[in-house]
């Protein structure tokens, strides 16, 4: 376990370095990304642009600019080009909304994804399975922005059952917090729910054909126990992988959902920064998102070792 953590830490540093370098380079080769010109405004004089270049260090070589920016990210001194505000403050402000969105949606999609997948597999070929298949495929096929728009139109604007936008802090008013998040949760969960139930279904159908399931029946276990103890646990392994990767990626910001429901989370900030070619927040949010992806990858590996005793952490595959 110790070796595993150390190896993963090195891996994380390397991944974050590579991601930051790529983001920085891509930004600098994209046409129209010259920050001084954008900051100076439409009718800027060459003198103004020159002074901005001087003041912000845009005349330095790219490696110097990169190093300066990375330093500022880790000391919390990063200032955005657009609006000239501290980037870390905006991100910290956005984190509660993003995490609330992700955890709530994940709870919904994991619960129903596993429930639907289980029922589909147990009743494979029956009417319940067919119905759930249609539901799942519909969920996978509906684009988030479309589904969000439909839900907003019917459940917020026309009937007023739910608020159409905004985020209330959990610490301020838990009921209001949940009330504002229900539509975003449901929208996001539907996207993943169908996919997860399909994956679990096929994984369970595979496991049901395993020899050890036949052994479990042959020793006189009830069908319910065979399914719960011998089929479901072994079938959850692919779900755990998917969940780790999806959840890690979402914590970096659910851009579309946050934007549509104006949650002011990290994802919405990312969208703003991208629209404005605002490099400092783009760099910071990319690193922040990459960090969660890497972190959850490691957590998936730990969960694997727990679910399958044949896997030992810290040993290289030989």
């Amino acid at each position: 376990m110790g070796r595993f953590v150390v190896r993963r830490l090195f891996g994380t540093v390397f991944v974050l370095f590579a991601v930051s370098l790529l983001t920085f380079l891509i930004f600098n080769v994209v046409p129209n990304s010259d920050p001084a010109a954008r900051m100076a405004g439409k009718n800027a004089t060459p003198e103004l642009i020159a002074s901005i270049n001087e003041e912000w260090g845009f005349n330095d070589s790219l490696p110097t600019q990169y190093v300066t920016m990375m330093k500022k990210i880790f000391t919390g001194d990063l200032i955005s080009y657009e609006g000239r505000e501290p980037v870390d403050e905006r991100i910290v402000e956005g984190i509660p909304a993003t995490i609330s969105l992700c955890i709530g949606a994940a709870a919904i999609w994991m619960f129903f994804g596993i429930l639907f997948g289980y029922l589909s597999a147990v009743r494979a070929g029956g009417w319940l399975d067919r119905t759930l298949t249609i539901v799942a495929v519909a969920g996978i096929s509906m684009p988030v922005f479309w589904l969000a728009a439909i839900l907003l139109n019917y459940l917020a604007y026309e009937t007023g059952i739910f608020p159409s936008q905004g985020y209330t802090k959990l610490t301020e008013n838990p009921l209001d917090w949940a009330y504002h998040l229900i539509l975003p949760w449901v929208t996001l969960a539907i996207l993943y729910l169908g996919f997860y139930s399909r994956v679990l279904r096929s994984s369970m159908l595979d496991v049901m054909n395993e020899d050890y399931v036949r052994t479990a029946r042959a020793k006189g276990l009830s069908e319910r126990r065979v399914m719960r103890k011998h089929v479901t646990r072994n079938s959850l392994i692919p779900i755990v992988t998917l969940f780790g990767l999806d959840f890690g990626a979402l914590l970096g910001g659910a851009i579309l959902i946050e934007k549509i429901f104006s949650l002011n989370g990290v994802g919405q900030y990312a969208e703003e920064a991208l629209a404005n070619f605002d490099l400092p927040p783009i760099m910071a949010i990319t690193l922040y998102g990459a960090f969660f992806v890497v972190l959850f990858n490691s957590l998936v590996d730990i969960a694997y070792a727990y679910l399958d005793p044949r896997i030992r952490l810290g040993e290289s595959a030989q």
Partner: protein, 346 residues
């Protein structure tokens, strides 16, 4: 015999609906088993031997399966039994061991937990520590060294032979009267095979454990069986005692199986004799005798299916499905002094 019969199988038929059409995997299998007896069911892949064995405890039940006939264990019918009644038979009265010990244990639970689970499924009042003690005792009795420590191992920490021993221990956890062993030695090394067979023979002797041994290996049969059932294409083609099958085989398919064994008491042949052709597809069985397309002794009558009958005056328990006259069979199979499928010289 039926008075002391442990298991009585009558005209067992198992059909499956598949994408390729309906197939009859088992077509009218009957046999009796007395307490302590070892019956070997022999045949190639697709002969229906494993399906027969698994159907005895309802493992082939599915919406796509049609199961007919009768399986009576001490007089109670298992084919018609509901799921709960069948569950109580599985493990408790009939233990089962499967072919591949590598995949027959659940890889994510410890060996001991899997054995204890079997005990507690039938005796819910057993505490976990009692179950554990019993599991150690069982592992010890099948020859696992250091059972008290090894009980907490995961299946992948056991060798193949040890896993099969542990499978047998688990099958015996509730002291069943009958053990069904479905190719228990096929996946093992030859030396380990011999150990497992010796273990099965010892259990049979010491506990008077009746055993149905499914195998394609006649060497295994010769070691342990009392009686033999030879299956081909879902049907029994020959049935008799071990001696009857080995010393006076009546069906050309049995000749082929015996002829393809290597023998220590003969010179080594250039090539090991083999049965030409491939086993028939169950979706497309030939009319009449299903061995007909591969049989060098085929003649006109073979297009009708022969019944499984006693054809030898001096051996009423020796049954076979072949139209040839017994005297004719004896002459033909002794061509060149070898049991085999060589056609007679013209």
């Amino acid at each position: 015999m039926s008075a002391e019969s442990l298991l009585s199988v009558r005209d067992l038929r198992v059909g499956f609906v598949t994408e390729g059409g309906r197939l009859q995997a088992v077509d009218g299998v009957s046999f009796e088993l007395t307490p302590g007896e070892v019956l070997a069911i022999v045949g190639e892949s697709g002969s229906g031997k494993s399906v027969t064995a698994q159907t005895l405890i309802g493992l082939t039940r599915s919406p796509n399966a049609r199961i007919e006939g009768s399986v009576r264990l001490r007089g109670s019918e298992l084919i018609e039994a509901d799921d709960e009644a069948l569950r109580k038979v599985r493990g408790a009265q009939i233990g089962m061991v499967f072919q591949d010990p590598m995949t027959s244990f659940n890889p994510v639970y410890r060996i001991g937990a899997q054995i204890t689970e079997a005990i507690r499924a039938h005796r819910p009042q057993t505490s976990k520590s009692q179950g554990r003690e019993r599991a150690i005792e069982l592992l010890d009795s099948v020859g696992i060294p250091n059972a008290a420590q090894r009980i907490d191992d995961y299946p992948h920490e056991f060798s193949g032979g040890m896993r099969q021993r542990a499978m047998i221990a688990m099958a015996l956890a509730l002291e069943p009267d009958l053990l069904i062993a479905d190719e228990p030695t096929t996946a093992l090394d030859v030396t380990v095979q011999a150990q497992i067979l010796a273990l099965l023979a010892r259990l049979n002797r010491e506990r008077n454990l009746a055993t149905i041994l499914i195998t394609h290996d006649l060497g295994v049969v010769a070691e342990v069986a009392d009686r033999v059932l030879v299956m081909y294409g879902g049907r029994v083609v020959e049935r008799g005692t071990l001696d009857e099958i080995f010393y006076d085989p009546q069906h050309p398919y049995t000749w082929g199986l015996l002829g393809s064994l290597t023998r220590m008491d003969r010179d080594r042949p250039e090539r090991l004799p083999q049965i030409s052709g491939a086993p028939p597809s169950l979706l497309d069985l030939p009319q009449g005798c299903s061995f007909r397309p591969r049989c060098p002794h085929e003649f006109g009558r073979c297009s009708q299916l022969p019944g499984l009958e006693a054809r030898l005056a001096d051996a009423p328990s020796h049954l076979d499905r072949c139209w040839l006259e017994p005297e004719e069979k004896r002459q033909r199979r002794l061509v060149e002094g070898e049991i085999g499928l060589e056609a007679p010289a013209p």
